[in-house]
Symmetry: C2
Subunit: 317 residues, 2 copies
DNA sequence: CTGAAAGCGCTTACAG
DNA sequence: CTGAAAGCGCTTACAG
């Protein structure tokens, strides 16, 4: 049985408005009324119905989080960070995990709109989303992209990918490597790599998108240091290197990115760049709340960090 | 600018009720009015506001999903299955990832209640939840536990753990193993193990809860087949076996559970029991929808499946 | 200072 | 058959 302000009002023979005010400790209500109201609300396990409040306030206290399917615990950690911050602000989090199908993305966003979200966090790149975003943009709903710097006209919260790219490259440079392969999937990370390599006066790296493209270079031993797009990709690269008869880190060094849970397993032991995943979620949600409350803020880049494990070593001379 | 039925009504000089009926193709509204309404709704990108509708219908078209933090992509796959099924029914999915802190669980459930969820799916065991569940039970909100068979008085959707336990044990028995170690974390799986072992007339297995408890048995080579609680635990057990100088599968066989993404990597190559994760989510949500709509249903157990990889082999003679 | 009314967006039950 | 009113639960602006 659902309890309402009205039922409490009837029971105590006061007006619904008075109950509402009493529950929010409004000074206009005498203390004795307040305590009676609160006692009854407690007994009957009254929970305010967000529909009435939301309709009234024009605010739903609901946020949407849209992410792509992802195995390997990246987006779920972000989800956790977002959820915690949302909960503290009494916000509910509508989550949708989508494929890349634009129709599905649009249908999920439509549900967000129907449920009246006050804001949306998207863990994807704007280039993939732009058509489905029309509805959101049309209504001027605050939107934040997270863990990507491709956010179109919207704000984003992400790891400083340029700095991360620099960190990875510098680590290998300091170990004495000269011949690199760098992944181009994240443009800012690649720029970071190239910047560090150029500043060290070293030759231009091999640039690859899919891991497989590296096989010829591995076989010809043209590179000694690989900078992967992610720890997930590092697994693939490790396998390719092994297939080419190369040992890690003796013959070839690999630096990952993300620091997912498996990176520290002895089977991998990847030197990698730590992304502050939980923080991305928390910061993205706080920023969204500020945006909902007020107005104008700038992008936020969080600091990456290098963690050295056993997938990198000095090159053979 | 948010569009409402009222604004459309004013523009077309008809009543809000007529607009509402027209949008839902009610036969009482003449066709020419319908098409005018629909055209305008389209142009103005009208999306019905769930608050008005929900308040009226006493239904939110919102479901809650509560899960524990989990790295390794089990609960996020379930989330995906739930989300897809929810979206098809035009349901929004409120997701909350919690720790085991009962206060946090209670606060998340309270947010679910405030947002007026029509039903809740919980990926946890009832024993952990029972105190926080009071609020939900008090209000009679339909609740389904998923991926656990410990669901208290509520329905559950889970893999048939008993059958899964049998599958794992039988596989090792067929390979010729006689001396087993079985994990007790999931009681039904353990029962399945014991059942198969007993039926084969083999000696009682070593039973362990935490992986570390197995170290003595491993060192003394008392067991040749280990049935893990999960692929995640299988990783730990593999490391412990390696530390004890045992090779997999030559010296010791390990069967995992779940078939998470990493189980098939060459570093692990676990023989394991496939849980229909995506299906669990989809079935749980369909069941919840039925429960919301009507009433009485029974528990659902989904079929596990064995996948043989390279972590199991015949025992040495 | 206090209390009743109006209204958020929608749908259903009812009067004409 | 058609259209206006009542009401879901809440809060705010207003009348007394």
């Amino acid at each position: 049985m659902r309890m309402t302000i009205k039922k409490i009002a009837v029971e105590l023979n006061i007006s619904p408005a008075a109950v509402s005010l009493a529950l929010r400790d409004d000074p206009r209500i005498p203390d004795c009324t307040k305590s009676k109201v609160k006692k009854l609300a407690d007994e009957w396990a009254y929970v305010p119905n967000n529909f009435g409040r939301g309709l009234q306030a024009g605010k739903s206290c609901l946020a949407g989080y849209l992410a792509n399917s992802f195995t390997g615990s990246f987006y779920d950690i972000i989800l956790q960070g977002i959820g915690e911050t949302a909960a503290v602000a009494n916000y509910g989090l509508l989550a949708a995990i989508t494929s890349y199908d634009p129709d599905i993305i649009a249908s999920r966003l439509r549900i967000f709109l129907e449920k009246n979200v006050d804001g949306v966090i998207i863990a994807d790149t704007y280039s993939n989303m732009s058509s489905a975003m029309k509805m959101i943009e049309f209504r001027g709903i605050p939107t934040i992209f997270c863990s990507t710097q491709d956010s179109g006209p919207h704000l984003h919260v992400a790891t400083d990918n340029f700095a991360g790219g620099q960190l990875a490259a510098r680590h290998l440079i300091e170990l004495g490597h000269k011949y690199f392969a760098c992944c181009s999937v994240e443009p800012d990370r690649l720029r970071g790599n190239l910047d560090a390599i150029k500043k060290a006066g070293l030759p231009s790296p091999v640039i690859f998108k899919k891991s497989e493209e590296l096989t010829p270079a591995l076989k010809k031993k043209e590179v000694t240091g690989i900078i992967a797009y992610s720890d997930m990709q590092a697994i693939k690269l490790k396998h390719l290197a092994n297939c080419a008869g190369l040992k890690i880190p003796e013959d070839i060094s690999i630096v990952g990115f993300d620091d997912l849970w498996f990176a520290q397993l002895e089977e991998f032991n990847f030197t990698t760049i730590i992304q502050p995943k939980d923080e991305i979620g928390r910061v993205a949600m706080s920023l969204l709340l500020k945006l909902i409350a007020a107005g104008d803020y700038g992008n936020i880049l969080l600091k990456p960090e290098l963690i050295v494990r056993k997938s990198t070593a000095a090159p053979k001379l």
